[in-house]
Subunit: 309 residues, 4 copies
């Protein structure tokens, strides 16, 4: 509401000299705040709130945060942050696509953000990707605002379907080399619980895999205190449905936790770090930022505490 | 990063049903946070960050807050909020302009936001307003974004000067019916300290008042614990420079405090509530939202604790 | 987990020099945080959490806060803070007891904290105070920990009853000079709503007042945006039950709002500021911190915006 | 300040029914808040503030937090939390003591909390532990309040010295099988910077190691974005001073980051996971919670991004 220069200075109404305040660092004043758990909060200073919207299913926001860049938030929960989403998406996609000898057709359950498709489409062997997400507006939102995924969204190999992933998968006649679950965690008693049951994997997923096919799914937090919520269950379910199941994990800074994935198949996962590195070089366009053969191998060596449960 | 409809629901990756979550109220996640004092914080949920900028003097932001509407923030301090800035600006402007029998020429020290000019220009007697602010970019920012002040900024009676208010006032030959201080609080030892001294009022302000002229200034927080910082000092200084000085205050919700102003003159302030109401009706275009005669009268009855110091 | 002196310094594991950090002011790290409204937060730096407990009715905590001293918090809402509870309690008690020519018997509905009784017992005319609160454990908690009220709790003129205030009042045969409501605000549709109805005041409260008796009640927030929640309603109800009703308000810093009270009687409230000051001198032991005659008088001059609704 | 039962309910002054509020979950109101970086905050709901104190060197607090149990905070930075300090301390101590064929004498630089000593003393081969911390009051504070370390503090094999670790190490004539750095991170230009230099390791540490001796130090954050601050430097320094240096890391939930350590020696680290498991069984009293052979082996396989720098 006013200011005055006095000799050689300038002051705002609240009485602090402008520049020296900036220098001595007044407090960042806009924050995004998330409750990781009821008693635990994680807050990022904000540059701006780029876009907000409401779909029939959820509230959605794109924030520009100081510590983690652009961040996609759905219903008050961080989904992915510019500076480290590559850890999540490289981990979700590449181990399965590298272990598969020749992945041509891929089905993504969910994945509307587009980053999962982007990583898949880097594989030269891939001929077709079906991405099936239920929320059209989230997909449109991400298409418009996530510049990094624009190329993927317009790749002719990508077929985008708006539908319930289970219904879509069941209705389709063809099967796939790799099926990827980029879906919500199951909540006990919640509507998706059955999506993570033996019966869903057995009756819906497995029949749609080609021989030698691989199923991989994000599997929720895999931290020393948080892995029992979802991660252990998914692993224990999958290893009863498939002959081979490999749980693995990585620390994702913007999630303030270690995250988990499980891949499963009736064919064994036999490649060592060196062979994975070789395939990466041959099959993947561009360079990974997070994963190489050694990282993949060690990601599946869980800590004693996690392994035991 | 994905979602799936399962029977009749929808879930985000973090495992909470979208809609029921909205209903049961997930936490607001973007906040503006201000340190009112070192140990006291005041936080508003944000709709958006409308604009941010940096001038040579200060950082400036226009936020859209849930509790208080659009809010102008300079160097991390709230300057004015849409829903209650009228309390501040009506209180700063009208008591002096009503007590003056015929205010024609007004000088504003500071006031770049435009709201002080807006309230002054509602007075039918006013023929000329000089607004002198040092930060051109703040003025341009407010001109562009504070829709409510657009009319004021384009009023032909307004002369806008970018300069140090003291230098400008001293260099001008004409004098004014009312001079209004819409400036930063003095900080002990700070560069503006001298702006609130006896000598500044005596040598710079008073000589530029026409006979019967009134000086009024915002005077910082006037709460029961905060009035001693600035408010008491300004009052005590002004009552030694002018024959009459009247301190008054009002609670401004978005400031989380009671705010103070002091008006001073060599002519007495003699109007009672009814006379003030009459003048308001005659002289002011439109209706006040906060002030009427009774409110003006009682605003100067400070509480026992404040009065005594 | 370790530190080392190196030449002339000391550093903690997180790599910041201890003393210089203290000097340059590292951030206060423990906070009490209250949601004043859904979109508005108010946070105090903490020295310590003195006591916490759970009664059959509510959660209770006594905090030592940096800005407001010891603070009593019930169910996550600040009830009273050491440094400014006198504003609330002086305002609740003294106007009614001063306007009454000779208040001897007082009934408090609620008031388990003890501060209301403390202020009442300062009046030399008072012979008997009944305090009726439903939550025995809150009363015991306050008795133990609120040192400032100890004397009041052991005053022989105080009769403490644990009961539903309405039931107690209805079952008692005697009537009182002043009845004080130090109760929860009514919530629409909530269980106490009826306590603020015409019928409650008419059938339960009024019959228990001696001739010339006064009823006074706290009446919730009375700020420019918040007074319509409760304050206006209570005033409008009371002025239909009693011949005279006087609403008044005061800014309470720790509540971040202006608070309201209403006193009502079938006898007029006629004392002016000077007469109130005289009675204060004669009847009240010790000095008020907040209220004097002028403050009482001006407290009932509400701002234009509040008055009109 | 009061409550009343009305028919079948109870309400506090702020108008919300006590129990239903508890059930519907009113917000946790006391929080510990830490700035992990300038733009990133991490907040824990508090049960209580157990103890606070000030030493000549630093401010110290013991908090009871909801998500992480008792937490030791020095100068506003979390040092260690009850529920996961074992990850830090097992990782700091056991890899070095297991790789050493017969560790008898150990020197801890820092370590005043006592947890490092506690883990060391679980090794049956250990005959003598010197813990050298500069801040006597921190040591006394931890001795009094960290129940879990009481046994360690009173173990006759522990010699506690209050001194500058470098001075102490230099003044001692004997040398050690393992030297452990449980010290502050070096800050650029700060007083400890030289403690992490080649010259310190070469002239002070290495000469005090017995033949086959191992040096291990905490090495700061080792996350994908944070490892370049300190972790890479320490590793790169140590591998020029010792023939063999092994960096390793683990995610510590309460630190919201992956943490790093480096062990170094002129003898090679040759044990595989199975041999480490065997030694653990033979040498360590009780069971580790975090570390086993596989965890140790994989902890040193850093991710691609971290490894490359």
């Amino acid at each position: 509401m006013g200011e005055i220069s006095c000799s050689n200075g300038i002051t705002d109404k609240n009485g602090v000299d402008g520049k020296s305040l900036s220098l001595s660092g007044y407090r960042k004043s806009c924050w995004y705040e998330e409750e990781i758990e009821e008693n635990l909060r994680w807050s990022f200073a904000l540059n701006s709130i780029l876009h907000t919207g409401e779909t029939p299913y959820q509230d959605i926001a794109l924030l520009d945060t100081k510590p983690f860049g652009k961040a996609l938030v759905i219903d008050g929960k961080l989904q992915s942050a510019e500076v480290d989403e590559f850890i999540y998406h490289e981990s979700l996609v590449h181990p399965a696509l590298l272990h598969h000898p020749n992945p041509k057709t891929i089905f993504i359950m969910g994945g509307g953000e587009g980053s999962t498709a982007r990583e898949i489409l880097r594989h030269k062997t891939v001929e077709k990707v079906v991405m099936c997400d239920i929320d059209e507006e989230v997909v449109e939102f991400c298409k418009s605002y996530l510049v990094v995924n624009r190329e993927a969204f317009s790749d002719p190999r990508l077929e985008l379907v708006i539908n319930d992933a289970r219904a879509e998968l069941e209705s389709r006649k063809e099967s796939y080399d790799v099926i990827i679950g980029d879906l919500a965690d199951p909540i006990e008693g919640g509507p998706c619980y059955k999506l993570y049951t033996k019966s869903f994997y057995e009756s819906t997923v497995k029949p749609k895999l080609n021989p030698g096919g691989i199923f991989v799914t994000q599997a929720g937090p895999a931290g020393i205190f948080t892995h029992t919520e979802v991660f252990s269950c998914i692993y224990n379910t999958l290893r009863h449905v498939f002959k081979y199941a490999v749980p693995y994990s990585a620390h994702i800074p913007s999630f303030a936790d270690t995250w988990g994935w499980v891949m499963a198949s009736d064919s064994p996962f036999e490649l060592c770090a060196e062979e994975l590195d070789l395939r990466m070089k041959q099959n993947i366009k561009g360079e990974n930022k997070y994963l190489d053969g050694k990282t993949i191998s060690s990601a599946s060596i869980l800590s004693k505490a996690v392994r035991n449960s």
